[in-house]
């Protein structure tokens, strides 16, 4: 039996607040904590240092990204350890991740829909008064416009639910992403500019959102801030399956795609 730490009757959650940490480093940290810690964690990364494309575990570059422009502009492409779709993240993205033991939240089953529902309720509380928040299928939306994309990874005894929130974004960056073939019904084939919205149009400041998220967490956990120096270790990639795709991999994907489409691959 594993005894989990409790304070004031609530399970403990360690909170690590980061600013502009590279997304690959954040993913490595998350996977390490998922697989080698028995504590509950919340990681908040306010922005990331440069634009990166991040695909889910089964992502195929030729289907999800515009390889020609990605190669031309040398945009990094990462395949992460969790499921779900493809995002492009940058300093306008706010990341919030929960890493929990499966029994951390009473009555919550560690399966995709219950986790999505629980986090949806948490953010509904966070964003109360700022907009018409909905959990639309598996996205966080204001009205019918998505502002947060989710993904999960579930192990035998723990789970991760992580979200990339669009505080702000550059529409030019969205053009690196194709409209996915597997999309939620409510998207209704809308292009990115009609499907997405920016949190900055609804919430007064980034710190308002972050502080309210931490406060809302406090209803379920006894939150304890942990300095990032105690957890960040860029050299430790043990348990890390998230990886940066090499230029060669992207070029091979591009060549195969061109062959399949019977078009000439333009050197980029």
């Amino acid at each position: 039996m594993i005894l989990h730490r409790v304070r004031d009757g609530l399970p403990l959650m360690n909170l690590v607040s980061l600013r502009a940490v590279p997304i690959l480093q954040q993913l490595h940290l998350e996977e390490r904590l998922l697989r080698s810690s028995s504590d509950n964690w919340c990681i908040i990364n306010d922005g990331t240092n440069r634009p990166n494309i991040v695909m889910g575990i089964s992502g195929r570059p030729s289907e999800l990204i515009d390889l020609k422009s990605v190669l031309r502009d040398r945009v990094p492409v990462i395949r992460r350890f969790s499921g779900g779709g493809t995002v492009i993240v940058d300093d306008g993205t706010i990341f919030v991740t929960f890493i929990c033991n499966k029994d951390a939240i009473p009555g919550l089953q560690p399966y995709p829909h219950p986790l999505m529902s629980w986090t949806g309720q948490l953010y509904k509380d966070v964003l109360h008064g700022f907009g018409d928040f909905h959990l639309q299928e598996n996205d966080y939306a204001i009205g019918s416009r998505k502002f947060g994309g989710n993904a999960q990874s579930i192990t035998k005894n723990r789970w991760v639910h992580h979200t990339s929130f669009l505080w702000d974004y550059d529409i030019k960056n969205m053009e690196y992403l194709k409209i996915p073939s597997r999309a939620p019904k409510y998207r209704s084939a809308r292009p990115h500019v009609e499907f997405l919205c920016r949190m900055t149009e609804y919430v007064p400041s980034r710190s308002t959102f972050i502080e309210r998220t931490i406060a809302s967490l406090g209803n379920h956990f006894s939150v304890k801030p942990i300095h990032q120096d105690r957890v960040i270790d860029p050299s430790n990639t043990l348990h890390s399956s998230s990886k940066l795709l090499t230029r060669q991999e992207l070029e091979e994907a591009y060549s195969s795609l061109c062959e399949k489409l019977h078009i000439a691959a333009i050197s980029v």
């Binding site: 575990i57 779900g84 993904a151 035998k156």
Partner: protein, 166 residues
């Protein structure tokens, strides 16, 4: 919470009866009060994998209960033949909706075959979790490990208790 659970179980039952988690007419099955099918003749782990031991080979997959809770499976990650698995240890993962979920081996041994059909048709895990959706075949190194797994009645009760607590 109880009403939500009932609705969830009913929804699962409807979904299963519509999509038809297929079972062979020759394989006996138990009607489970948790609305997922549980087959006689198999053993079950607490992380919702099943194992069928025939001769020197154990076939492993995830249960109907698991596939119902995970949703539509879109990708399956499997080990290579020849690799080792340990009882309770992860050997692969399934991706459904937005989640990857580890799959754990109920027994230790050597992987002798993997279900390559799952690469093109991962949905076999949903439509036929106990037959066409099998994941790996293992040569068990300690067949006595099977004795500590649950039988069909025990697993059915386990699922009911798990759902009742949530």
């Amino acid at each position: 919470m109880a009403l939500k659970l009932w609705a969830s179980s009913t929804a699962n039952a409807l979904k299963i009866s519509c999509s038809g988690a297929k079972t062979s007419p020759f394989l006996p099955f138990s009607i489970s009060r948790c609305f997922s099918s549980v087959l006689d003749g198999l053993k079950y782990s607490s992380s919702h994998e099943w194992v069928k031991h025939e001769g020197s080979v154990a076939t492993i997959g995830i249960t109907d209960h698991a596939q119902g809770h995970l949703g539509e499976v879109v990708f399956v990650e499997l080990p290579e033949s020849g690799s080792s698995v340990s009882k309770g240890g992860g050997f692969g993962a399934v991706e459904s909706v937005k989640a990857t979920s580890d799959v754990n081996s109920p027994v230790s041994g050597e992987v002798v075959e993997v279900n390559t059909k799952l690469t093109e048709t991962p949905g076999l895990i949903n439509s036929s979790p106990y037959e066409d959706g099998w994941m790996i075949k293992v040569r068990p190194s300690s067949p006595t490990e099977l004795d500590s797994l649950m039988g069909p009645k025990e697993y059915t009760k386990f699922c009911e208790e798990e759902d009742a607590h949530h």
